[in-house]
């Protein structure tokens, strides 16, 4: 089942840089889709178009189609100016390259979003804390100090807290933009392992910080170069037998 359908999606910033050039892409649900390629390829522009973070950027023109599908097959036009962006971002949660924890306790970091959206029930909040921390592979490390400031955590722990904060809101899609670029191998391992488990229930879109991570994580992978989608295939195909010369040269490390 598809989660996103993009048709001929183009995006131009006000300085006339065309960041996306006629992208056609179907992103399946309940799997990990990796978007990779050299900087300036359009990966982040695409992510930010999906969850409408680009509303804040200086965009001259967006054209084409970008639809989000739900379980019942209902379609939401992501380019529609009138949709409720806050509600959309609850469905598509995002984790960024650098962990941004709120200057609050670990507990409050997790309950903040739920409380803002009106959940007051203590028991439900506590359940959400434990579940989301467990899913993000952080529970064992912080369960005895939930009221400590979140800024006390190590970088790797903070990043997993950001992931947990996403999960506490039970989104449909988790978007991760180089989530482990600043983490040590052990924390990276933990984040990757939890993503592999989470994909059963979530649609995951990942921009990895290295080709190795792209290869490890991809159920399917999309290679972006200068705003174009060069190739989209299953990870096993794309990293072993890519069809396009540009993809092959990039994964073999000939440029980029």
């Amino acid at each position: 089942m598809n989660k996103f359908i993009l048709e001929n999606l183009s995006l131009t910033y006000s300085d006339s840089v065309q960041a996306l050039k006629g992208i056609n892409l179907e992103i399946p649900a309940n799997s990990i889709t990796v978007l990779f390629g050299p900087a300036g390829g359009g990966k982040s522009s695409l992510l930010r178009t999906l969850n409408r973070l680009n509303d804040l950027a200086d965009v001259k023109q967006v054209a084409g189609r970008a639809d989000l599908l739900d379980q019942d097959g209902r379609t939401l036009n992501l380019l529609d100016k009138t949709i409720d962006v806050i509600a959309l971002r609850r469905r598509l949660s995002m984790v960024f390259a650098r962990p941004i924890v709120l200057p609050l306790s670990i507990r409050q970091n997790l309950t903040y979003g739920l409380e803002v959206s009106g959940v007051r029930d203590r028991r439900r909040l506590n359940q959400a804390i434990e579940l989301s921390l467990e899913q993000a592979a952080l529970w064992d490390e912080v369960k005895d100090r939930l009221d400590d400031p979140a800024t006390m955590l190590s970088g790797g722990q903070q990043q997993r807290l950001c992931l947990a904060r996403c999960l506490a809101l039970e989104p449909e899609v988790i978007i991760l933009d180089e989530p482990t670029s600043g983490l040590d191998p052990i924390s990276t391992n933990k984040v990757e392992a939890s993503l592999q488990k989470l994909k059963v229930n979530y649609t995951i879109i990942l921009v990895p910080h290295s080709i190795q991570q792209a290869a490890r994580m991809a159920d399917q992978a999309a290679f972006f170069l200068q705003g174009e989608l060069i190739e989209f295939a299953t990870g096993d195909t794309l990293f072993i037998n890519p069809k396009q010369v540009k993809t092959k040269d990039y994964v073999e490390g000939r440029f980029g």
Binding site: N189, Q212, R216, F239
Partner: protein, 234 residues
């Protein structure tokens, strides 16, 4: 990296090695049995079924390549294991060819009465397969001690081979009309002897995976005509 994912992959690669070993073992037992009973129908079946082993080998090789490509960084012991799985799968595939070769001999001899009852060849097979089974188990379980001792049994197979060789030479001298079949039987025995040699290669890989040492395991190698290489390879 997701260690769990890599462990799952490695486990599945080793399961495939185990499966290939069983296929080779059954093919060899059936081939020698067909030769003994001169069962041409069974022999033809074994001859055709070798393509299954070849396909398994290609699939396993492809799986190894996918693992190396998608589970980066794959290093040290893990890398040695995957590289050795490639090698061992090749050895097993070759052993499958030896079983196929014995089936072919059975077809070549046809229904012409055997010039001698087959006793030593089935014994060679039993020892060889026992070595093979133990070697693959040692490889899968990272059992260096077993891997070092298994090649010691190679001399049993070599001795039997020499015995078969001398016996067949004697028969040929006495009755030149038997030369054709005697040659075929010698070829069957030689296939088993080569198979046991390849078991040693699997043991070497088992040791390499654990220790990182790549060297030949000492074994007796005194078959009378060690310069003869019926299949053109070692």
């Amino acid at each position: 990296m997701t260690r769990e994912a890599l462990d799952r992959k490695l486990r599945s690669l080793l399961d495939n090695i185990q499966d290939m070993e069983e296929l080779v073992e059954h093919a060899t037992i059936d081939a020698v049995d067909a030769l003994k009973r001169q069962d041409l129908v069974a022999a033809q079946k074994i001859y055709d079924a070798d393509s299954i082993i070849n396909t398994r080998r290609f699939d396993l090789e492809n799986d190894c390549v996918i693992t190396i490509a998608t589970q980066q960084p794959i290093m040290a012991g893990d890398l040695r294991l995957v590289a050795s799985i490639l090698e061992v799968s090749g050895e097993l595939e070759r052993m499958g060819d030896y079983a196929k070769g014995i089936a072919k001999i059975c077809l070549l001899i046809g229904t012409e009465p055997l010039i001698k009852p087959l006793i030593d060849i089935p014994r060679m097979m039993e020892i060889t397969l026992s070595m093979l089974r133990r070697a693959v188990t040692a490889f899968i379980n990272h059992d260096v001690e077993a891997a070092r001792s298994i090649p010691d049994d190679d001399y049993l197979v070599d001795d039997l081979y020499n015995q078969v060789y001398r016996e067949l030479i004697t028969i040929m001298f006495a009755k030149p009309t038997t030369i054709d079949q005697a040659n075929h039987l010698m070829w069957a025995a030689h296939n088993l002897e080569r198979m046991a040699d390849r078991v040693t290669n699997i043991c070497e890989r088992a040791i390499y995976v654990v220790t990182g040492e790549m060297k030949e395991v000492d074994k007796t190698d005194d078959e009378v005509n060690s310069s003869y290489q019926g299949d053109g390879s070692n």
